[in-house]
Every structure is written in C-alpha cells, then in structure tokens.
C-alpha cells in the first residue's frame, strides 16, 4: 500500500533523514517508534509532501508520490494527522470536518457526520463548538475525524497519545483498532511502547534519522536490548 525507499530529507543544511525505508501493507497498523527528535514527524511529512525528500522513492498504491503536491497526495486517499493537531480554531467542529471532506472513494470506507459521531461520541455532542474552545483530547479526536472525512485508504497518525489524558489514550487505541477493522491502513508514530503494543502489528524504530529496527510487535517486545538502546529515556 505505502512504501518508502531510501528517503533522505533536509531542513536547510541539516540532514534529518538518511536511508529511511519502510512499508505499510493493506489493513495493517505499523508503528514508527523513536525518541523525541528522532525523525518520526519528518518521515510523516516527507510522505505527505510537506517536506520534499531530497532523494528516495515514496510509492502509494502503485503511484510515485515523492514529488507531488500535498493536496494531490491527499486526494489519492492518503490521510495525514499532524502531531500539533493543527485544527482550525475559528471553525466549528462541523466546519473543520467540512474542510477535510472529499468525494467517496471506491474500496474504502466512506465517512459522514453520523459515523464520526459514533466513533468519537464526545465530538457528536458538540457539532457547533469552535475548535479553539475544545480540550486537548477533543482536539485530538477532531483532527483524526477531519482526516477521516477525506475517506482515506491509509492514515499517517503522528503521536496521537502525546499530551492527552489516559482516558483519551484508551479511546485513541479503541479508535485505531476500529479503523483497522474497517480496513484502513495506519502508519502510527509513537514514543510510548505500551500504547504501540496495544494496537500495532509491526514496528520500526528510528533513531537520528535512520531505521535501526524492523520487525513484528512481538519481536520487538521480546528484544529488550533494542528497547533499551533506542527507546529508554
């Protein structure tokens, strides 16, 4: 479904990603683990086109996308949920969703307000609430819901558990599993191994912009050394 091959990315002169390769198959939840500053968000941005990779290939459903504009990539059915959430604070919940809305896409679930309200009951209760007057957890739900309105086949989910209350983290995990059951592929970035273990099938570990580990979630949980070396703080 989604495949990165030897991606290099820069901010100005700073070489941030080197030879990053990874793959997400249909229906899979894959987690990209790494400490703060390891390059997880940059990887996500390189996929959606907000950072243009200097070298390497990104393939999504057979199409080469590394040089495409973000909006074109999004229209292929690749959804992006940024770490900073970036919801539109002046817009209501419904308006935020409207911005993300795209036409239905064959072969993937189609989302509307009713379905969103079922996935995130909290949002269902506040259709007219401006984005700026929501709690962090509600904003996190909104940013995911907004991306879902584009009916994506695959979602890039950048640290959804960061900075939200434990009860919301549980809801996020449930939502991810629900999306997976509907056949949406997910690339998740995380620092939190426990959260990842709850939802992911496979894992990559990134450190200093390089992939250091790749394997199934079970393999990672058995590999205390990798955990210690790349994830412990």
């Amino acid at each position: 479904m989604l495949k990165l091959k030897d991606i290099h990315a820069y901010y100005g002169q700073a070489h941030i990603l080197a030879d990053v390769s990874l793959e997400v198959n249909a229906g899979e939840v894959v987690v990209l683990l790494g400490r703060n500053g390891a390059g997880k968000s940059t990887t996500m941005k390189s996929i959606i086109g907000l950072v243009k990779p200097a070298k390497g290939e990104v393939t999504f459903q057979g199409a080469r996308i590394e040089q495409m504009a973000p909006y074109k990539i999004a229209r292929l059915g690749l959804g992006y949920v940024p770490e900073e959430r970036r919801i539109f604070t002046e817009l209501t919940v419904l308006e935020n969703l409207e911005v993300g809305r795209q036409a239905p896409r064959a072969g993937v679930p189609t989302w509307d307000w009713d379905k969103i309200a079922r996935l995130f009951p909290n949002l269902g209760e506040m259709p007219q609430r401006p984005g700026g007057r929501m709690s962090g957890g509600e904003q996190q739900m909104l940013t995911i819901a907004r991306t879902l309105m584009g009916n994506p086949a695959c979602i890039l989910l950048d640290e959804p558990s960061e900075g939200v209350a434990p009860v919301i983290v549980d809801q996020m995990a449930a939502a991810i599993l629900e999306l997976k059951s509907q056949g949406v592929a997910i690339l998740l970035s995380e620092q939190n191994l426990h959260f990842a273990a709850e939802v992911a099938d496979r894992a990559y570990i990134i450190e200093k912009g390089r992939i250091r580990f790749s394997g199934t979630m079970a393999e990672l949980e058995a590999d205390a050394e990798a955990q210690q070396q790349y994830l412990a703080v």
């Binding site: 907000l50 973000p70 539109f88 002046e90 817009l91 308006e95 911005v99 993300g100």
Partner: protein
C-alpha cells in the same frame, strides 16, 4: 455646533465608511489567505473607477444601465485579478515577503501607465446615478441621495460576504486557509485554485469600490497610491485578514474624519486649531494609536507561524580582495569625474543625485536587511534631515555648514521617537507603523505653513560660497556618502551587526543569550535614521528647494525598490540598486513617456529571473564560477 450639522456629518461618515470598507475588504481577504500584501490593490480600485466611467458613458443613462456598468466593471477588474494571479503571483508565493511586495508594486507602475495610455492624464468625472441625483432633506439640511444609498451598500456587502464565509464550502475553506493554509492543502484542497478564487474575489471587491465611487469623485491617476494608503490603514487597524475588523476600522476612521470636519476650527488658549486640517492625517493617527495599543489591530489574530522552510540566509561576508580592489577603482573614477566630466556638466549633477540616493538606500538597507525591519516610511528621516537643515538655516539663520551638520539631528530625534514604537512590532505591522509616522511627518510639513512653508516648502537653500561650484558640492557629497556607507558597513560587520542579525533570525534565542533585541533594533533604527538624515540634508542644499514631497510615500517606496533591486542580502546591494534606479529613472524618464511601465516590467523580470537582486545574483554567479573552476 448644532445637532443637525452633527447628524449630517455622522451620515457623511457612514457613507465614507462604506467606501473605505469596499476599498479595503478585498485586501484583507487576499492577505488572510495568500499572505500576499497586494500593493496593487489601489490600482485595481483605480481601474474599477475608470472602467465604470467608460461603461457608464455608453450604457449608463438608465437605472439598469448604471448599475449594470458598476457590476460589469467590478467583474472586469476581478477577471483581471484572476489573470494577474495566474500569470504572476502563482510563481512567487514562496518568495520572500519583500519580493512579493516588489512584484505587486511593479503592477502598480504598469497599471498606472496603462490607465494613462487608455484614459489620458485628465480627471474624468462619471455621470451621476440615475434616480439618485438629488438630495434628501434631513433636519433641514441637504444630503445626497447617492450617499444615502452607499450607506446601505457597505453593510449589504459585509452581510453577503459574511453569508458566504459562514454558509458555503468556499467560505469555510477561505477561513480555514486564513488560519493554516498548509494544513488545508494537506487535507486535499488545491490551494492554487483557492488562491486564484480569493484573489479574484478580492480584486472584484476593489473594482466594485472604485466603480461605486464614480459619481462621487473623478477618476484620476493618483487614486492608486491614495487607495492603497487608505486600504492599508483600514486593514491594519481592523486586523489583517479580519473582515468584520475591516468594517469596524472603516467606520471608526470615517466617523472620526467626519467629526473633525464638524468641529472645524476651535480656539484654545488663544490659538486657532483647525480640526478639519487633521482629516489629511487622522487615519494615520488612528493607525499609530491602534498599533501601539493593539499590535495586531482591533480584531486581528496572531497568524500561524509561517511554515515555509525557506533556506537560512548566509551571513554577510566582508568584502574580499577582488571586491576591495573594485571598490577602490570605482572610488578613483568617482574622484576623477568632475575633471573628466567637464564636457558633461550634467554628469556631476546626476552623480550628486545618485550619491544621495545611495546613502538613502544604504541606511534603509541597514534596518531592512540585517535588521529585518521593513520600513515603509524611510522618507520620514530623509525629509526630517532636509527640513532640519532648511529650518536651521532659514528660521535660525545658521550658516549652511552648521545647518548641514545639525540638520540630521532632527532625523535622529524622529527615529529615536518613532523607532521606540516601531521596533515593538514586526512584519507588515511594523511596515505600516513606519508608514503612518512618515505620513504624519509629511502632513505636518504640508500643513504647518508658518514654519515649513506648507506645500510651497522652503526655498533659497543654497550652499556656502566655497561649495557653490557643483564640483565642490559633489566632492562634499561624495565624502559624506562614502563615509556614511563605510560607517554602516563597519557597524554591520562588528558585534553590533551580529547581534542585530541574531535578533532578526531568532529573537527568542537572542534574548536568551543575553542580547537585548529591543535595544539593538532601536539603536539600529536611530543610526539608520541619522544617516538617512544626512542624505536628506545633502539633498536640500543640492536642490536649493525642499517641498513636502521629499517625505512623500513615493520616496519611501523608491527606497524599497532600490534596496530590493540591488539585493537585500549583500552589503553592496543598496549601493548598486540606488545607482541603477536613479540612473534609469533619469535616463528613461526623459526619453520615454511610459517609463513607469517599463520600470514595472523590468522589476517583474527581475523578481522572476533574479530573485536575489542584481548584486546578489552577480555574487552568486561569481561564486558558481569559483566552484566550477
């Protein structure tokens, strides 16, 4: 003052508010979404009034014909906006803010000459609106029917815009893009299309504002700069990107203006103070007060930090050996000029102008490039220097040498005062506050007849005996210009300059390592203002006459063009740019009626082909050669 007079002025204010709102709202809309500060907005307004004039001349006799012409004119201007967006702006959305300004300013020049070619230099007053030619009586006073109609049109347009922004998908996308356009793109919205539509809508509104103004004031070639000045003020006071803010600001400014007229002249402490004179400057006073009190305007919101990951600027390099040799060679040529140039006395005169321009531009570059403060009102300090010298000589009977030496102190004082307010702001807001102060200075020079000579200015400012020869004055100018420029460069390459650039690039970090960014920027402002004042004083004695136009916004813009033409990222940029600009203006303007348009086209080419400016591009070319060799 009677109640009826006050009421009529209040209604006048409402009509004025409608006009101002229509003029400005499109600018705010465009800025909100595209982050382009469209200098050409006033030109679209001007074209609206001209096109409506031509249309009403043909079909405007009937009610339907008149209003049809207004709508058609607005649509035509909107279409023009769409074309401009597709051909030009699309290419420069990622360019530095200043380049966008320069490009849209080039459009101003081109539009001005296009209007001159099509409609000629005369003022053209359109027919009055059929059915609304008369006046209604309000408390025994006559009030024009058309103005009454305008009072309703402004809020009606506001209502229509409001409906669109809140009830349509297009409107929701506009509001979302105003907050975070990159995210809108990442959600699958084609920004290119959205930007084109918004630009078209914004220019359409400007055209509508112009077309509606047709029966009230004659179409003329000065409306572009007048329009953009007013529009900027309204947008900045209201908060950039805020549409209700634009309405509120238009209302406040128009009503205060009307109130000033209603009050007229009052006697306080034995003085006559004419409030109606304030109308020329009241909007800038309002803007200055609002920006000092609310730096983002009345209803402005902090915009999401620009996420353009543009490359970091390379540090300023001290001149290398080759550059120094080149510099000395130029200096020798300049020293020889009066000797060689005896056959062409005009060369010396032109060279004085060029040197003054170089000093002016170098001082602007000092705060703009390394300081990161884009002043739109640098002419204020030029003018203060010129008037300082002039007043010291005429009002205080000082000898010319003393006046020349002390005149710049007035510019220094102005920079000290204005800078203290300006450096608190940044970006467009700072630019607008500098513009406001410059307009205030201009209007004082223009209106304080007893002291400044009003619009006639000060005449008879001749240099002392020993400087009477053009060649002698030339050497003086050369010495002060070279000295001034070298002084500024020296400061930029000293720790002061590094601190200044640190403050520009990362104010928070600079503060954290103990650099007081505010003080550095303020000092830089004062230094630049003082050096600019020297240029102004030199200018005064080189011409013998000064008038308020030395402070005019046109001069401030010339300075910007010079700096950008040369390239803002190099030390030599402003020198090259000022010389080139002044020479071009002199050479082309005398030969070619449409020199403005020619300059505009040249600027557009420059922006597209040499985005680093002339000096910057040459430098990069040389460096490439070096790398290749």
């Amino acid at each position: 003052m009677s109640v009826d007079a006050l009421l009529v002025q209040f209604l006048n204010g409402l009509a004025g508010a409608s006009t101002l709102f229509l003029l400005a709202v499109g600018l705010s809309l465009i800025f909100g979404v595209t982050r382009i500060v469209n200098f050409a907005h006033g030109s679209f307004y001007m074209l609206g009034i001209y096109i409506a004039y031509s249309l009403t001349a043909r079909i405007g006799g009937s009610v339907l014909g008149f209003w049809g012409s207004v709508v058609l004119a607005a649509l035509a201007v909107g279409l023009l906006g769409v074309i401009v967006e597709c051909l030009l702006l699309r290419r420069i959305y990622r360019a530095p803010e200043l380049f966008q300004l320069l490009a849209t300013f080039a459009l101003v020049l081109i539009a001005r000459d296009a209007a001159l070619a099509i409609w000629g230099p005369e003022d053209l007053l359109g027919p009055r609106a059929p059915g609304l030619k008369g006046a209604v009586e309000i408390l025994g006073r006559q009030f024009p029917q058309y103005d009454l109609a305008l009072i309703f049109i402004g809020p009606a347009v506001l209502g229509a815009l409001w409906w669109m922004l809140t009830r349509t998908r297009f409107g929701v996308l506009i509001r979302a893009a105003t907050e975070d356009r990159e995210m809108v793109g990442a959600l699958g919205v084609n920004q290119a299309w959205l930007f084109t539509a918004v630009f078209g809508l914004g220019t359409l509104l400007a055209g509508l504002g112009g077309a509606l103004q047709g029966p009230r004031e004659p179409a003329n070639l000065g409306l572009d700069l007048m329009g953009i000045g007013d529009a900027f003020v309204v947008v900045v006071v209201g908060g950039m990107g805020s549409i209700p803010g634009a309405f509120l600001a238009a209302l406040i400014i128009a009503e205060i203006k009307a109130l000033c007229i209603a009050i007229g002249t009052v006697h306080v402490f034995g003085f006559d103070f004419s409030f109606s004179k304030l109308t020329l400057v009241v909007e800038f006073l309002v803007m200055a007060v609002v920006l000092i009190w609310k730096p983002l305007g009345l209803l402005g919101k902090p915009s999401a930090a620009s996420r353009n990951s543009s490359a970091v600027e390379a540090p300023l390099a001290p001149p290398d050996k080759a550059a120094k040799i080149f510099g000395y060679a130029v200096l020798v040529l300049l020293l020889l000029l009066p000797v060689v140039g005896q056959m062409f006395p005009y060369a010396v005169v032109l060279m004085i102008d060029i040197l003054v321009a170089v000093l002016f531009a170098a001082s602007l570059h000092f705060i703009m490039g390394p300081g990161g403060m884009h002043s739109f009102g640098h002419a204020a300090y030029f003018g203060l220097g010129a008037y300082g010298a002039g007043l010291l000589m005429k009002q205080f009977s000082m000898p010319m040498e003393a006046a020349l030496g002390l005149g710049p102190l007035l510019a220094a004082a102005g920079a000290l005062l204005f800078g203290w307010f300006c450096v608190r702001l940044s970006g467009v807001y700072l630019a607008m506050l500098t513009l406001a102060f410059a307009q205030i200075v201009w209007s004082i020079a223009f209106q304080w007849d007893e002291v400044t000579g009003g619009s006639n200015g000060i005449i008879g400012l001749w240099p002392a005996e020993w400087l009477n020869q053009k060649a002698a004055y030339y050497y003086l100018t050369l010495a002060l210009t070279v000295g001034g420029v070298l002084f500024l460069w020296r400061v930029l390459l000293a720790p002061f300059g590094y601190a200044l650039r640190a403050g520009r690039d990362s104010p928070l970090r600079a503060d954290a390592i103990g650099i007081n960014v505010f003080n550095y920027q303020w000092m830089a402002f004062v230094l630049a203002g003082t050096v600019c004042g020297v240029a102004g004083s030199l200018f005064a004695f080189s011409k013998g006459t000064i008038a308020p136009d030395v402070i005019h916004v046109g001069r401030s813009i010339d300075g910007l063009v010079m700096v950008l033409l040369g390239g803002v990222q190099t030390l030599a940029g402003p020198v090259v740019g000022a010389a080139l600009f002044t020479w071009l203006q002199d050479a082309v303007a005398r030969e070619f009626q449409y020199w403005r348009a020619a300059l505009g086209v040249a600027i557009l080419l420059l922006v597209m082909v040499f985005p680093l400016g002339v000096a910057g591009s040459v430098k990069r070319l040389l460096r490439r050669r070096e790398v290749a060799a």
